[in-house]
Symmetry: C2
Subunit: 359 residues, 2 copies
């Protein structure tokens, strides 16, 4: 486990206990946290990406039910309304819906909703941390296999967006095997896709890896294809926001392009997920998974620090040119080598997924 690093935790400094989260919008420039004391604050924090990452959103949502329970003084009917608000705050994240539904199910017959919500949210988090550790181990076994097969001692892993401890409790999904590799003494180097337009790679992943002393190099999203053509990438590991029953993967916009390049260059392409990422309601991911559209301003404006260390938001396009901004794309199962899950490695295949996860 990373030990010192967490994306969120309960804070009882205030009158009622509240949720404290790292404000991920300010990273890597400023480390700051926010107190989420109401459902409204919590929904806003999810929407404006103060908190982001499939797992962390789920965790925040679970604690959100606890915060909401305090707010409505344990009234289940009122809590249902709050839960609906939390559930709708981000459309693509299946963990969010899963966490809210699971919490509400657990509390349905509770006689002490506030206390039970607290306990359930903590339990859900502990379980997620354990899942992350299992993904770390299964994923690192694959790293070892690849090194053995290639007769190499150093692994080059490309990742897109951020699926580390800032994204999923406790060590992430895509980055978990990398942290595990470090623990096992493997020489690991990570190609970090910048991940436009919100730059989760260049800011969050690079920052995370720096904190953990893991060798990494930031690249423009455009560069992964060339690196694969050159043989400079041994494997790709990404996370996912939702995986359909047939193994199609919704993940941060641009993932599909990297999967195509990996396929074209025989680079193994892995998706690391907790089992809760599966959405069995959706059979054909490419057609059915809803894709979130976000503001074009995320493309037109960018944050950074100037030479005096002052955080600034600048426009990088002509003022009048419009921009379109979809948050996710869907990578078809045929491009995926395998899914690394907390229950083991599984091919992105309808029958194998069904057998292993719906049993």
């Amino acid at each position: 486990m990373q030990g010192n690093y967490k994306a969120l935790w309960l804070n009882d400094d205030l009158f009622d206990e509240c949720l404290e989260v790292i404000d991920q919008r300010l990273l890597p420039f400023i480390y700051d946290t926010r107190h989420l004391t109401t459902t409204e604050e919590l929904v806003t924090a999810i929407k404006n990406m103060t908190v982001r990452g499939a797992g962390v959103i789920g965790s925040v949502a679970a604690f959100g039910i606890y915060i909401a329970a305090i707010e409505v003084e344990g009234d289940y009917e009122l809590l249902k309304e709050k839960a609906a608000l939390i559930r709708e705050s981000r459309p693509t994240a299946i963990n969010l819906m899963w966490a809210v539904d699971k919490m509400m199910e657990l509390l349905k017959n509770s006689e002490n909703i506030i206390e039970d919500a607290r306990e359930a949210a903590i339990k859900l988090n502990d379980e997620e941390a354990l899942e992350s550790q299992k993904i770390a181990e299964f994923g690192c076994d694959i790293i070892e296999e690849i090194l053995k097969k290639k007769n190499k001692t150093k692994i080059n892993i490309l990742t897109h967006c951020n699926a580390g401890w800032l994204a999923v409790i406790d060590e992430g999904t895509a980055l978990a095997p990398i942290y595990e590799a470090k623990r096992r003494g493997i020489d690991v180097h990570v190609w970090v896709d910048e991940t436009r337009p919100r730059n989760q790679g260049a800011s969050l992943t690079a920052w995370e890896l720096s904190k953990s002393d893991i060798e990494h190099t930031i690249i423009a999203d455009n560069m992964g294809g060339l690196l694969m053509q050159r043989g400079d990438v041994d494997m790709v590991i990404v996370g996912a926001d939702r995986v359909s029953a047939n193994g199609d993967v919704a993940n941060k916009i641009g993932t599909y392009l990297k999967a195509l390049a990996a396929h074209d260059n025989d680079v193994p392409f892995y998706v690391a997920i907790p089992a809760s990422t599966f959405d069995f309601e959706i059979i054909d991911g490419a057609v059915e998974i809803p894709i979130e559209e976000r503001s074009g301003d995320e493309v037109k404006f960018i944050r950074g620090v100037d030479e005096d260390g002052v955080l600034r938001r600048v426009r990088i396009t002509p003022e009048d040119s419009p921009a379109k901004n979809y948050g996710f794309d869907v990578t078809p199962a045929r491009l995926i080598t395998a899914l690394i899950t907390n229950k083991g490695v599984c091919r992105a295949d309808f029958n194998e997924i069904k057998e292993k996860f719906r049993g």
Copy 2:
């Protein structure tokens, strides 16, 4: 022709005639020009990308030989040394080498080097403008065919980087058919790839298209795959810096990823080039074309204007994280529908290219 818009022109305001160019590093925020009066200034302007774009670099290089000829007072031996400096200023651009070599060949037996260099450079530019016009016409014929085949009235074209009039005299390569489409009254919309890390799309292409009132939308480089999956792209047109004898295309980093996505979604993928872009010395482009590596700071820092309109350079990554920055990738011929050249449309095929262009 665009008429009013030019990327460079001769200016005789100063004692000796000099070359005036648009400083493309400041666009789309500031329109400003530079006077290039010496070989050194000219080489620096190519290296630091004050001027960029395959054709414009070639044009600047041709006028550079004229500027150098003034500098060395028409001495051919001294001119050869200056020519070598210009020739080496950017490694991937074949037009640059082609223009320098052509100029030097023409001047070999000249008895009036300065005057002849001036005349030759102007002639070379006029020829390029004509080539651009031919590309515009052949390319627009394809646009009309696609619309007819799809029974549509509006075409959605995706382009990467900038291959318009800021890149190639007189209307560009990839954008030339789009300008022609407008003249022919076709309803055209352009998806403009931002083109990290230097953002030539989000800054130069968007600015160019704005100036010409052509409907366009800026997208992160990550988004093209999803748009193609959705059927929102009817064709891709890009330029090229070098095309090998077998039809492999070296173009701005990220082009290869778009070609993969186009291929995967049956979207026609065209490369618009003047015939001078072919490099018959190189048979297998994927293996042999040298790829320019540029400073990682181009990934780590970005320019934009703040809310007060002040141009600022900000860092968008953690300070200590390194970045890698290759400028180009090579798209294999198998992914290319056809090459749109000034001599007509040609498949990206060794024999067809040989027959048409080496004949």
